[in-house]
Assembly symmetry: C2
Amino acid sequence: MPEDKAPIDPWGSTLPADYETLMREFGIEPMTEEIISAFPSTHRLLRRRVEFGHRDITRILDALKRNGAYAVMSGIKPTGDFHLGTMMTAEEIIFYQSLSDKAVAHYCIADLEALADNGIPLEESHGIAVGNVADLLALGLDARRAYIYKQSEEKLVQRMAFVFSTAVTFNTLEAIYGPKHIKYYFSALIQVGDIMLPQTEEHGGPKPVLVPVGIDQDPHIRLSRDIAKKFKLVPPSAVFHKLTRSLLGEEKMSKRNPMSMMTLSDDPRLAERKIWSALTGGRGTVEEQRRLGGEPEKCVVFELMTNHFIEDDDELRKVYLECKTGARLCGDCKSQLADVVSRFLMRHQERKEGLMDLARSILEGGGWTRKA
Amino acid sequence: MPEDKAPIDPWGSTLPADYETLMREFGIEPMTEEIISAFPSTHRLLRRRVEFGHRDITRILDALKRNGAYAVMSGIKPTGDFHLGTMMTAEEIIFYQSLSDKAVAHYCIADLEALADNGIPLEESHGIAVGNVADLLALGLDARRAYIYKQSEEKLVQRMAFVFSTAVTFNTLEAIYGPKHIKYYFSALIQVGDIMLPQTEEHGGPKPVLVPVGIDQDPHIRLSRDIAKKFKLVPPSAVFHKLTRSLLGEEKMSKRNPMSMMTLSDDPRLAERKIWSALTGGRGTVEEQRRLGGEPEKCVVFELMTNHFIEDDDELRKVYLECKTGARLCGDCKSQLADVVSRFLMRHQERKEGLMDLARSILEGGGWTRKA
């Protein structure tokens, strides 16, 4: 069974060396042109194969075709500000929610995990979560078709985790996650609860659910699909995106190293400085770079342009070609990106400020905007 | 470490062969005359050593001495009517609550376990729980100093279970419970959450907690005490009672075999019939019994008298001696007990009927009577 291969670690912080091997090993399907063009609209993350793979995405395409209900779900551990990695997931939720007025977005604030893993008290994570939700709204989530909830307040998730535990063996958990401390298995079952929440009676019953994730989260997807079959639920679909690297290039971007990541709350001038010190695909000297061209494949600055900051495909292609041919130096790219990013951050932060009250009222009012 | 011995099984249904061996192995203290007389009042279960052992009961005695707060906690899986086994725990809660106006009783309706283990939907177990709570009130619980809650509605318990999971290893769980399916470990952590609930900030913070249990539940007590130390909580105390045998004598009384148990909802005439067919310590023939005397130690009818239905110690002693000397036959005992039991059931059922609305309002009103 392909689902029993050596596990990848959703709690780790290393970048997978080779996405294609992982896909083959775990049976993740490639994101093909055919699939991409079947969506009613498009997104740079799809077009540029930042979303490179999926499981069962056709369930979502089918729902779109027959104008049926589906959900898109994700979540965040409220330990700090949105960074570029969490922003990518947010953008995906927003995109897949925007495709149909039958689509509902579910967003989980994993405050229990922040408590258990990071020792952050619930009162503290609540404040962080308000900011996270305001970020999500500022990026464009339609709050009228979204259920945003804190794990600590959502009894249905806890209940499901407990019920699901009756149908899972240690063998399955070890095959999927490797041998781990029990807290990780506990946490995994709660995350399966989060993924299944859109299919509860209280949320309209069984339906396709799309979970946009980094490939490191695939174990949760596989466990969820396994459990869904046992409880007559629709096995959730997933789209997989490449992990956002740290600005310094080595690890996936995470909250563990604030100096190597960019948050949406960074002062725009600080963000510019971070870009100026980011890893590039530049050569040792200007002369060499003019002669050999740069290496955009290795360049974090080019990755930021690709993933987040250059919308126009032609413009991105131009940057790529100019780099490859040595017509453009790293300073040109950094200057261009710094400019785009600082303008983006200023606009975003202003928009976010105006949405803090709505974010608070959603979190304190039971998750649905219409009840707030 | 005595806590690492071959485990006893809280989910099994066999009677422990030898209480004394178990006590020695697991470090349970005997219930001594000195302890019993230190309580401000007395109870037949204590005097007759039906409560035969304890852990750390001196914490409760100390609290009583200095008029400090303490809690007494237990719970029920809402799968059916109160039977004599669950009634015993109820009587203990009521007794230990009655000793001080600083004592609060916590009573957990383990509806998540009824769902996960027995497949009973929450709506169904709610109805059963209302009856269980009415039984508890009819037996004498002071609802003004009681917190009665459903697991499925109590977020604090879920939260603690998750946090506690971070501090427990598989080794510990296996040492305490033996190798088990993960659902049992999950359930164990939730039960530890239940046991710790009285010590949360929301319930007044750390304090002594007394848990009256059958010895088969000791693993939960040991796990709780282990975890309490890690989270700066007071290790809970326990009193252990002998398990109530089935009317037919072989197993512990449980809801699994309705024909061998007596419930508080039994029609009094049915209860009488059950008593007439119960196991006794009688001999093969009347002649033999007159000559050798009966064996009250083996007799379920005598056990029912001892545990539940004869309050007066002298009267019980008289029954015992008459049996041992052959002056009394099994029919005499059965007739006497049937009479007491049917009168008890009639009175109890009438009282319970009048408390159903209060029970419902407690369960639907957030657990505290004063809020109902």
